[in-house]
Subunit: 295 residues, 4 copies
């Protein structure tokens, strides 16, 4: 603004600045999902590679939850910090985001999760190589594939597995909608990410036993693909009775149900309806207006 102050720098910076809101949002979702995978799956890695000495269920649950918190702090003001295709899907469906943005968000999320898995693989390369004598295993006590993607408990049927992912993501979205509903109790502005972190701690402490509580297609599928390519082999897709598609499809179904329950049971009954939300039942018309929502 002031002439003569860092002209060359400013013009260089001006060339870097993204004019398109969509481009900013896409790169933001990429970065957020990248952060979540490195720090979140990293918490799993530390527990497994130390054979429980430097990590366990507490550090995994807190670590993954706080990884999400930090990813939202980095990206929330730009792209809303979805970092989860199921969240983006629900946001579009309930009129909180335009549909044309959906493929960009989801593409960035899958790509960010893949690059995050690769970065984590690099950071713990020596540890992974020494853990099982250079072998990258999917099953057994020296398995490391579950650092990256989730696998079902031995007792779990496919039906129960699908219900598990639907229900867990249902709770996630139902409560995320409550956290951002300013006409309800209202988390103070700027603390929503921490409330979401606490939410992820409780869901992964209570509904994590069946299959590790992915609740996020990008968080699960991209790292799984990475492991398939990086040396664990494509058995990562056939393992658990071809479990891989369940944390992809289940969360999308659960997100819709969770959002619907919150809207039908709580939101539409608020005495003073916010005009931005009044057409949220007309799900096919959401691209007529732009809602700048946080999540």
């Amino acid at each position: 603004m002031q002439p003569g102050k860092g002209r060359k720098g400013k013009s260089f910076k001006q060339r870097l600045v993204l004019k398109s809101t969509l481009a900013k949002e896409t790169i933001s979702e990429f970065l957020g999902t990248f952060i979540m995978i490195v720090l979140g799956c990293g918490s799993v890695a530390q527990a497994i590679l130390s054979r429980g000495h430097l990590g366990g269920i507490v550090t995994i649950n807190v670590g993954f939850a706080m990884a999400v918190v930090m990813a939202i702090y980095v990206t929330g003001g730009v792209s809303g910090g979805h970092i989860n295709p199921a969240v983006s899907f629900a946001m579009c469906l309930f009129g909180r985001m335009k549909w044309f943005k959906f493929p960009f968000y989801v593409g960035a999320q899958f790509l960010g999760a893949f690059v995050g898995a690769a970065a984590l693989f690099g950071i713990y390369y020596d540890g992974l190589m020494s853990f099982a004598g250079g072998k990258l295993l999917i099953v057994g006590e020296n398995a490391t594939a579950h650092i990256f993607a989730t696998y079902p408990a031995p007792y779990l049927s496919l039906t129960n597995a699908f219900a598990d992912q639907v229900v867990a993501t249902m709770f996630l979205l139902m409560i995320v909608f409550a956290i951002f509903d300013s006409r309800n109790l209202g988390v103070p502005k700027g603390l929503e990410p921490i409330a979401i972190g606490l939410l992820i701690i409780v869901i992964s402490s209570s509904l994590g036993l069946n299959s590790g509580c992915a609740m996020n297609p990008a968080r699960d599928l991209s790292p799984r693909l990475f492991t398939a390519l990086a040396g664990w082999g494509f058995e990562v897709f056939t393992a658990g009775n071809n479990f891989w598609w369940i944390p992809v499809v289940g969360p999308l179904v659960g997100a819709v149900i969770g959002g619907l329950i919150y809207v039908l049971v709580i939101e539409i009954h608020h005495p003073d309806p916010d005009p931005d939300f009044e057409t949220e039942q007309t799900e096919d018309k959401t691209d007529k207006y732009e809602l700048s929502v946080i999540m």
Copy 2:
């Protein structure tokens, strides 16, 4: 408001909107108690069904507390987020809620807790079935009934058990009253649920050994009834020297004592009395006015 925008959706939505405040509050309490049971008892389930590998006292205490936090965020702005008949009882007794609402609140809480127990049973159906070779047991190392309801420690007499529930709920209500007393220190608006979560963490860490610190008739009786019907048998009621009534009656007594202590020791001495609270000692006249309190 604006004509031509989603007319059919709006009219459909208008038919769904509850006109009655009491109906909204009832359905809200149902949903809140449902959330608390699935995520709270779910935290116990994960610890027990994994035989301590994916859960323990820390994840149980934090998980149950955060389940309450999330239930309050979902319901607090609508029904105050009581999710506990003992809380509703104290609220009526101290003039913070009208008595005619009491049966609706409590009915919704008992029903929500029952449905929540059933939902948790469904989510962990495969896990429960494989845990003890298809048997649903109440005692022994393969017991699973204490996922749903609380049972006394072997050493505990009935007198001590009753005192335990009275005292624990006394602390719960005394401090909940402090958390919502804006003339005291004052938890910032929107963070009260998290303060209550921390309160539940400390009570279940300190007073949880005797009998698991139910402090809530709905949280305990409804899941116990569910287990009786779902296959554990009616020994869930006779176990522990007919312990079942203690987490039902004890919390009601404790809630009254806890509220009374706070009011007598702290609240009535505040220098500038809030007129809304000045008749709180005339307990039989509370239905003359409507107080829209959070809890």
Copy 3:
């Protein structure tokens, strides 16, 4: 205010209301210290009486810290929530409280801690009786005296023990002064108790090994006296080379040093001095004015 509304109740209430600020503060400190001991020492009791199955260092450190948090939420708006003679001593010495209040505060704290220890003894009476076959022991694997008071590690000399209590309390007060210094970073109003809770977590995680980190004469001496009378015997005073006086005297010394360091290194250098604090170096004149401080 409005005539005809609860007349009889109001007059009854009016008879209960304390006119004296000092009486309110004294009863508030009694209640706060009582809460801290029941919930704080209760967290130790749960870990010890369950032999580590339902508690450990994490639940003890978090439980005791949150017990302090809750005690401050209950009493902070009335008496400042000192619940610690060392804190009251430093407050008087640094001109944040009048000296004539000191004996009332400290008396209430010692009494509240004694009654809290008795209440905890009652709550866990059956558990204590069954733990060691009816014996109340001070040393050995069945010891229970350290539920109530602190005892030194076997390796600890008296010199190191005294330094330990001085240094731990020094950090406590130094950082408490920072938390309430509005001209520094500033914890948001109403969240100071939680910041203090986090402070107690870190001090008891880092400086708790030598002798359990009492940092509070009332928290240690009153429960110790209770155990002496309740059946553990007066060896609770001679144990650890007459250790009992160290958590009484050490915290008083440490509190002064900690407050002094904060004032000298940080507070007096603030660019815009708050007039209320400008005479804080004239320690013998603090009773000339009344400072209504939180802590």
Copy 4:
């Protein structure tokens, strides 16, 4: 201000007050780093000296993180609470602090960490002496050197070790920049230290396995030097294939990369650029203006 009130005290105080902002900041950074080392490394000490009975990965990660939180609350309003040369380096490089302050900040940090290590040595002197029969060891199950400085895992190559410190500090700075970016989501004022504490918890839970996640030249080098002098010997520098320089150099590189990623991916694209930040690309001109930033 008011005459006749504590005259002698005021004049004594006036002599103590530091006129120079730089002097205040230097002494503040000294105190902050001192606090971090005593309470942070103290958390490691408690876990190691109790052989895991009174501490473990949870208390270490939470304890070190909260030690940083408390150090920032004490110093944040004066010097910004860097307590880390890598943070000060990034702040200078991105125009948030003048370069001439850099040596004062870094000198104070190294000195504060050294004195903190010495104080911790004193507090746990008896414990350290009794732990290994009076020996101060660097390797083996009775090692205590890693209480003070970090050492690499046996599997770790120097390349991976360097990448580890770069990446961990990259995440630290990237997210610290987000936490203080008021045009992003925005942590509420006064809660930034707690957000940083949660960040340190997740990084040390996820990226702490390789070499303990120092991310701070002063936190690692000064205590290492202290151990060399205090009796562990200069093998603390040669251990781990001369690992000592990696937590010194790696964090400086990582801090620059982390800051750069945040600025390039998120900050420069904000729609309404804050004039204070517009020359942040002209890194060699940052000493032309003074930015009063928190961190």
